[in-house]
Amino acid sequence: MSNNRITIDPITRLEGHGKIEIFLDEKGNVDKAFLQIPELRGFEQFAVGRPAEEMPRITPRICGVCPTAHHMASTKALDDLFKVEPTPVAKKIREFIYSTFMLEDHTLHFFFLGGPDFVVGPQAPAAERNILGVLNKVGLEIGKKVIEIRKQCRDIISYLGGKVIHPVCGLPGGVSKGLTEEDRKKFLEVAKAGVEFAQFALKIFDDIVLKNKEYVDIVTGDVYYHRTYYMGLVDENNKVNFYDGYIRVVDPNGKEYAKFKCQDYLNHIAEHVEPWSYIKFPYLKNVGWKGFVDGEDSGIYRVAPLARLNASDGMATPLAQEAYEKMYETLGGKPAHNTLAFHWARLIEALYAAERMVELLEDKEITDPNIRNIPTETPKEGIGVVEAPRGTLIHHYKTDDRGILTEANLIVATVNNAAAINMSIRRAAEKLIKNGNVSDGILNMVEMAFRAYDPCHACATHSLPGDMPLIINIYDADRKLIHQFKRNVK
């Protein structure tokens, strides 16, 4: 057995760092590959002893990039815990804030993080493969549009939620702040601009990716391909929903495998532990953990944009539905197993989010001042779910009679994809590294395998350089460094 070892140390973010270890066999082909997440903060433990109503203010600190998702999942868990129904307008305000957040997060990912691979090109020089390269290609005006729409969305969340980084407005049975008629009109302008912007982003995808055969081949090729189960929230018509509904799972053939309320999640989802990572690996309990393999017999499932579209029967708004149909037509039907199509699905979801903002704001009831129902029941146990940008997110709390937490369990969005991301990296490495040959070009191709998931470890690349710095070290059998490839490393 050879000790050949490649370390890709992207030192990315969020749940701390991510580290990829690739082991080669004696012929120099890939033997094993691991994505390790070397970070844990222990929220499930230190939530114990805290008052339930504080959880929407504590749990967003799990993720400062998608704090709104944790805030909403937590707030909904409190509705369930206190058995209090939010007022109709409170639900609308929450869903409005949430849609605004999804629009902002998704479009940003496309332009700043995932998009550069396509817009500038996977083979483009590394120095151009970032937001600045995108601006060069599509023009500075568009860059300004991106910054502007993002700022407007984030200002809405700040206004209603207090802070866009860690909102505070969610209470069991409602929200702490309502909208005036003036707010409604102002926000409606933003929402309409959002619809236009999302359509425009899809057009860029169309022009730059779909009209380029080389890119289409990469998207539909077998390097980034896994037949897995898919999970996502759907409404009563099986349409994609971010804020509420049933959790639906389809099998690799697209057939409904399960559909359940989030309160039943323990009957469907289990988590596997490995000694080499601080992250856990969720899987479908009734299929079982079969290791890091895909197919019908493996309980590994995927979440986030493409998974949500695969797990649904369509989009609830007209323009997004049109885009949905076009995507599946191009990809050759449903479900699509092409990992890189996550980028496309993300833009379709952004369009849905913007259309949903308009719908909610055109309903004048959203200015109703009746924003809260005060809970009266004795709390015991509550579970809440939302679709975070990066996938299904579940918060589960148990409390004593006073509403003090005795237990907390969290199934966090990116974690759902942890096993699939590991598989995707291994597959990309296997397909691309042959006979010990590792070229600089492979760095971005391996990187693309996990960037499609927009994993939280990459969230911070929502900022300037959209390109993940990477190092690959190759060691010989004596663990001596024989080659080093660097990109974006100063």
Binding site: F46, V65, K163, I165, G173, S176, G403, I411, L464
Partner: protein
């Protein structure tokens, strides 16, 4: 003249502090022009040898967010200290310990037990927990050590300035960057936000009665919150009196009380103790039993008064037989 080198690094944190930098929006372009960002946002090369190869003090300023929870974080911040002229603790976690600091009510074993064994969705019959070193199919993999205790940054390295807030608001971030670029720096150790209490700036201060007194504590979800009246006057815990100003009262603007993310003013060593003394002065009952009754309505004093500052408290952590004093 070459542009000053600037670095960003994160430890036990959520990524919100990076977003706070991105939220500078159009100003970010000005910053990028003025400085040479050597690490950020995904802080490029963290191989120790590459950073070690830089001359000492060659980075003008390093902004570090997050608390210190892992061996790798300690090693990295010590290295960055050596390579940087200035270190700014960025955000509540680096400044005070932050929300991850609430883990100081527990130890490593209880956190691991919870995360990897007793959570209801976890299926782990063999009781596997992550290991610092493990061999899988003949391959050796390593993880950094998870400490028993969470530390704020200046408990590990010398810190020059502090930018408070969870997350710090864009105007304070911009002020700090400008001050550094223009060399108009206040004395070392300064917290870069006005040294007065949140109440001094709060719009609701006018509604605070001359002599504020309360007879019972209400939790935010139990009552309809008046959008204009001082929270303490409504009987709701608001950390304003024990908290530094500068945040723009963002939570209060959304009609929710302060939880103290800016930490205390310079005059206060222990934020929780300060708030306790505030409470003692406004609770308007004298009978000992009545006082006890009121205190019973404060359901989680330690987790509320030290929401962001447990590692900065005089106690630093809950005393547990499993953890020796100052042990990592």
């Amino acid at each position: 003249m070459s542009k000053p080198k600037v670095a960003f690094y994160w430890c036990a944190s959520c990524g919100g502090c990076e977003e706070a930098v991105v939220d500078l929006a159009e100003n970010i372009l000005k910053v990028v022009e003025a400085v040479d960002i050597v690490f950020w946002p995904v802080a490029l090369d963290f191989k120790r040898k590459d950073i070690e190869a830089m001359p000492d003090k060659s980075i003008a300023v390093t902004f570090i967010n997050g608390a210190i929870r892992l061996s790798e974080q300690e090693e990295m911040v010590k290295l960055l200290r050596k390579k940087s002229q200035l270190i700014v603790a960025f955000g509540s976690c680096a400044h005070l310990g932050g929300v991850p600091g609430l883990a100081n009510f527990w130890d490593r074993e209880s956190i691991f037990n919870r995360a990897y064994k007793t959570t209801p969705s976890t299926h782990n019959p063999e009781g596997i927990v992550p290991q610092e070193k493990v061999t899988v199919d003949g391959k050796e993999l390593t993880l950094p050590k998870f400490y028993n205790t969470v530390f704020r940054l200046d408990q590990i390295i010398d810190v020059d300035y502090y930018l408070p807030g969870c997350a710090p608001p864009p105007d304070l971030v911009m002020n700090a960057i400008n001050a550094i670029l223009e060399g108009k720096l206040p004395p070392k150790g300064t917290v870069l936000s006005p040294n007065k209490s949140l109440c001094d700036d709060c719009k609701r201060n006018e509604t605070k009665p001359e002599k504020l007194t309360i007879k019972e504590i209400k939790r935010p979800h139990e009552i309809m919150l008046d959008p204009e009246k001082c929270f303490l006057a409504q009987g709701v815990i608001c950390m304003g009196p024990a908290t530094r100003t500068g945040c723009g009262e963002r939570c209060i603007e959304a009609n929710m009380p302060c939880r103290g993310c800016f930490g205390p003013t310079d005059q206060v060593i222990d934020q929780g103790a300060k708030f306790l003394s505030v409470l003692a002065s406004i609770i308007d009952v004298n009978d000992e039993k009545e006082i006890e009754k009121v205190m019973d309505t404060i359901v989680d004093p330690a987790g509320t008064f030290y929401r962001f500052s447990l590692p900065s408290s005089l106690m630093r952590r809950k005393r547990m037989p499993s953890v020796a004093d100052n042990e990592k």
